[in-house]
Structures are given as C-alpha cells and as structure tokens.
C-alpha cells in the first residue's frame, strides 16, 4: 500500500523523538554503538595482529610491558599486544552474545507463543520445563553441558557449541514473559474478531498476537544480550571458552593463570573487565529504556516535564 512507507517513517521519527530525550537510553546506545564500531573496525583500530610478539631492540619478547613502555595498553606475559587482543576479543564476546541472545529470544518467543495460545498439555510441559531450568543454577549446568557436548566430538567448533548451549538454556525468561502476554492478549476481543473473520491459528498468532508483544520481545532481547555476554565471559574465564578465538573472558583467564596480578600487570586484566562492564551496562540501559519507550504504559504522562506544555504566569514585574 502506498501509505505504508511514510507511516513507517513517521513512526520511526516518533520513536526517535521520545528516545532522544532519554539520557540513560542514549548513553546505553552510545556504549553499545562504540563497542560495535570497535569490533567492526578491529583490523584498522588494532594496528597489529594480536598474536604478533612485540620485541625490544635486542629481539627479546617484551613481556609484561606497562602501557607507558608499549602501545596504548602494554603487553602480556608472551609479549602480545593487549590493545590488539582487546579489539579482536570484542568480536568474539559481542558475536557470542548476539547470536546466543537471538537464539534464546527466537526459541523463547516461539515456545511462549505456542504455550500461551494453545494451552493444554503443551503449556504444562513447557512451563514445567522452564521451572526445572529456572531452579537449576545456570553456570554449573552450562559447564556440565559444555563438557559433555565436547566429549561427543561432533566436529562442531567450540564457538558454535558455546552459542547453542547458552542460547538454548536462556530462553526460559523470554518464554515465560511471552507466554504471560499471549495469555492476556488471546482473550482480547480483536482476537475473537480475527477468528470470526475466518482466520486460522497461524494468522491469529503471527498477525494479531505477535505484533502486540514485539516491543516486549525487542526490549527483552537487548537484556538477553548482556546476560549472554556475561555468561560467555564467565565460561571463558573458567577456561571453557573457544581457545582458538579468545574473547574478553579468555583474556582475564590468561591474566589470572599467568600471574598478572602477582606481577602487578593491571593493564592485562583491567581493560577486558571494563570492556565487559561497558557492553553489559550499555545493554541494560538500552533495554530498560526501549521497554519504556516501546510500551507507553510504563512511561510517565506525556504532558509531564515538557516545558512547552506548561502555561506560564505572565511576568508582572516587567509589565509597565
């Protein structure tokens, strides 16, 4: 339809108008955008390969060089450039986070929709499954799963296994959220109308129920990214990351196991730690604000706090 694109543009500009005024949201978006730029421009920004050994004039590896002695962030125990590791590590941390979150949101939304809409044994089955998954502590479960999947030697890269395991364990929160929303929306009368016009289940689910909960899913997905990145970091710190693709968590693991702390090499473990905080803080800020902006019911009234809406008393002192 012809009216579609201008309308989309109008909706986007309306979204931007509300979003722009929200400082935590802007900060979150900026934090995420900078991290994203870092990983996209990694080869340019790093300046060198992270596996390249830095040597001094005598040709010996420059180990545990402080930021004052070398580059922006010094070197590690093997004389590798920390800044280059940090920049390339962002690719692993972010991509595991995004893919795992995408997977968990996809699975969670689908199962939540189906459970909420059809109810019955499917609902009981899925909800008891989420009960079980919610009760078992995540990290031990993931460690056991990762270890046993790797034992199988499926020939899949550890990176993919990591994404799959994290993604397939963290869908429960999204699943419950989507199910709860589906339960309330399927009782709304426009769903009854959709049935009355002869719509089937697919049409009702995808065209009438899903659009109502999409804002929720989007906001939740951003929060899931932070959960997934933190989980990956934790696993990598414990040595369960993909050793061929070092992430920020892997860097901290190296720093820990190679006595960076005893050597006072703070430039080895502090930058990746701060980078993890940087990104997950960005996700949480953006996620909370997206939820607020996309769900008008959570925002304060639109007349509040906008100066233009407040009638000002005439300035009597300046009257002649």
């Amino acid at each position: 339809m012809s009216a579609r694109w201008p309308r989309l543009r109008r909706n986007l500009s309306e979204f931007w108008r509300v979003f722009r005024r929200n400082r935590p949201g802007l900060l979150g978006a900026a934090l995420l955008a900078s991290a994203l730029a870092l990983s996209l421009l990694a080869p340019v920004l790093a300046g060198r390969d992270p596996s390249e050994t830095i040597r001094d004039e005598a040709g010996r590896p420059l180990t545990f060089a402080s930021p004052a002695e070398h580059g922006p962030l010094g070197t590690d125990d093997a004389g590798h450039d920390i800044w280059a590791q940090l920049v390339f590590g962002s690719r692993i941390s972010l991509s595991v986070g995004f893919f795992a979150a995408a997977l968990s949101v996809l699975v969670g939304s689908m199962l939540g929709l189906l459970a909420g809409y059809f109810g019955g044994w499917l609902d009981v089955l899925l909800m008891r499954l989420t009960d079980i998954l919610l009760v078992i502590p995540d990290l031990p479960l993931i460690i056991i799963l990762l270890a046993s999947v790797r034992q199988l030697n499926l020939g899949v890269s550890p990176y993919v296994i990591l994404v799959l395991v994290i993604g397939l364990l963290y869908w429960t929160r999204t699943g419950r959220l989507v199910r709860a929303q589906t339960l309330t929306i399927k009782e709304r009368q426009f769903v009854a109308r959709a049935r009355a016009i002869g719509a089937g289940h697919g049409h009702i689910l995808l065209r009438h129920i899903l659009p109502q909960i999409t804002p929720l899913i989007v906001a939740n997905a951003v929060l899931d990214v932070s959960t997934a990145i933190l989980t990956e970091s934790g696993l990598a710190f414990l040595g369960l990351g993909d050793p061929t693709r070092p992430s920020w968590g892997t860097m901290i693991n190296f720093a820990f196991s190679r006595n960076a702390i005893a050597n006072g090499a703070w430039w080895f473990y502090l930058p990746p730690g701060l980078a993890i905080v940087w990104v997950s803080l960005g996700c949480v800020l953006l996620g909370n604000v997206l939820e607020e902006v996309l769900n008008p019911r959570l925002t304060a009234h639109h007349l509040e706090g906008d100066e233009r809406m407040v009638a000002r008393a005439p300035d009597l002192a300046r009257a002649p």
Binding site: Q189, F190, R193, R195, I197, A199, Q212
Partner: protein, 336 residues
C-alpha cells in the same frame, strides 16, 4: 391486531435454528445450560431482534451460530441450517469459509474488537484478503467504498482505532462486517456505550444498509425501543430459553409471557407520560442452579402451582407467535 409478516411465505429461510442447546463446562466439571431448545427462522432481508436481560444467552446464541464459543462452551444439541447447510455438521476448516463470507458479526464494544496496532483500512480489508476474494488493489478500492458507505472519510482509513470516536469505531466495525458481502449479519448490541444521538445514527446506518443490500440481520439488544423500530420479528430470551417469540408487532402489542409484559412495562411509553415504571424484582436465575420448573417462576407475579415443577413448552398464541407459559393452553408451537 393483524400480524404483518411481510416476507414471502414461500421463500426458504436463510437461517433456520432448531432446538439449539449449548452448555458451559466449569473447571470443576460442573455444567451450566446456557442455551436450551432455541429455535427460530430468519428470512432474507429481515431483522430479528434477540432481547433479554444480561446473561440470558443472547451473545451465546450468536457465538453458537458462528461456532465461536470459548473453549468451555459446547453445542450439545440442535441444528443450524444456513441456506440449507447444517453448520454444526461442518468441519472447522469448512466453517472458516462461512465466517465473514456468509455471516459476519459486529461485536459488542467496537474499541476492543479493533486491533490497536493496525490501521482501520488494514483491518477492514483483512477479511477480504484472508479469504482471497480480491487482490490488494481491488480490496483497497472496496475498503474505500465501504468507508463511503458508513460515512467515514477515506483519508481517515489510514488512521488507527485510537484516533476514532466511539461512533466512528462502531461504523468502522459495520464496514468491516460488510467487507465480504455476507448474507447474514449478527449485531451484538451495536449501540451500547454510545450516546443517544450516535445510537440513532448507527441504527439508521444499519437499517439503510440492510434495505440496500438485502441482508438478514440478527440484532441483539436490551432495548425494546430499538426492537420496535427496526425488527420484523423478535425472540425474547430468559435464562437461556425462549420465553416468547413472534412478529415484532404481535409481541410488542400483545405480549403473552408475563416476562415480556413486565419487560414492556419497565420501558417508558412516550404516549402515556407520567406513568410509574415497574421494575422486575429479583435477578435472572444462575445457569448452574436453574429452577426445576419455569425459569421465570421465582420472579413471576402470575405464577401457578404447576410453574414450580414443570417447564412450560412453547405454545402458539397466534400464527408464528409463541410463548412458553402455563397460562396459555394454545396448540403447541411447531417449527417446520
């Protein structure tokens, strides 16, 4: 009082309901008989009023006819013949083809029946595209024509439901109901929650459309004034059963059932101002604790001993005018 039954007697009814019964099953397994033995005929171009207090089964009747009952509802008996086809015998897939293409419904409360995230234009055209009746461009033109028909500016079709007033939403719902040119229209209290002016507008619109398109309409309402104005025949329901039914004039001018009489007394009469309105004491029966005899017996001021024990059958007061009351000993009602 002459009975004006203006349709062609030889014509076949478009909708023929026979002995329709619907139960609701509670979570604890208890059964409520929401509808029992409802029968009526509706001819093309005619309007049938379905009248009664809240909870007497009006909406349940409509939902049963479209087979759109909530999960707890079950149709347990009867036949619904639409142009000769028994809708209750169809599979769900076959039934879906009847919905909206043959029979459409204007829901009670138009705000809730519109999806807030789509434009009104999209929602009016949705059924047309869903049934694959036209391509998108043709459907768009049809939506324009429908908006014209119900008096909404075409440009406002691109707006969202929250940008509409209550009356406009109701008109949009009517446009939506007409999208696939159904032969039968159910209107579930289309004028509740509208002010009197807008009520009159919406009723005028419905009447005009019906005249123009020759639709058959089932109008659910509390308002006997509306019935007198627009209906050809009327079914008065009480506690899930038909209390009285017949041509609107006959029921209105010569009510047989004490419930109908009390109902009419509870409405103001323009020709006899100053009259005190009589309310009916008590409440309609709970559907899971129905009285064993006549369902109106506990509230009836003309009850007989037999009323408490035996449910009355529909008796004919005159041609096609039936009442279910022990006060009348006429021949038993017969539906062909």
């Amino acid at each position: 009082m002459s009975v004006d039954w203006s349709h062609d007697e030889t014509a076949r009814p478009l909708l023929s309901v026979r002995g329709l019964g619907t139960d609701f099953v509670g979570l604890d397994g208890s059964v409520a008989h929401a509808l029992e033995d409802v029968s009526f005929d509706l001819y093309p171009g005619q309007t049938l009023g379905l009248v009664g207090e809240s909870g007497c089964g009006k909406t349940t009747t409509l939902l049963s006819l479209m087979r759109l009952l909530p999960a707890a509802g079950r149709i347990v008996s009867g036949q619904v013949l639409f142009d000769g086809t028994d809708l209750l015998a169809l599979s769900e897939r076959e039934m879906r083809r009847y919905r909206w293409k043959e029979m459409a419904i204007v829901f009670q409360g138009a705000m809730n029946a519109l999806n807030p995230v789509y434009t009104v234009r999209h929602q009016i055209g949705e059924a047309i595209l869903l049934h694959g009746l036209m391509d998108r461009a043709a459907a768009d033109r049809r939506v324009d024509a429908l908006l014209d028909l119900v008096g909404i500016a075409r440009s406002r079709g691109d707006q969202y439901p929250h940008q509409y007033s209550g009356g406009m939403r109701q008109r949009a719902m009517i446009a939506m109901a007409l999208a696939c040119q159904p032969r039968l229209l159910f209107a579930d209290e289309p004028t509740t929650a509208l002010d009197v002016m807008i009520q009159a507008q919406v009723l005028e619109l419905l009447k005009g459309i019906q005249r123009e398109l020759g639709l058959a309409v089932v109008l659910v309402t509390h308002d006997l004034g509306v019935v007198a104005e627009v209906c050809d025949s009327v079914v008065i329901m009480y506690g899930g059963k038909v209390a009285e039914q017949g041509p609107a004039d006959a029921v209105y001018n010569d009510p047989q059932h004490p419930y109908t009489q009390r109902l009419l007394q509870a409405f103001p009469d323009l020709n006899a101002p100053g009259e005190t309105l009589a309310s009916i004491p008590g409440y309609p029966p709970r559907l899971n604790a129905l009285p064993p005899g006549c369902r109106f017996e506990p509230r009836c001021d003309r009850r007989l001993p037999v009323c408490a024990t035996t449910a009355p059958r529909l008796m004919a007061a005159s041609t096609k005018h039936y009442a279910a009351c022990h006060l009348y000993a006429g021949p038993e009602a017969r539906f062909e």
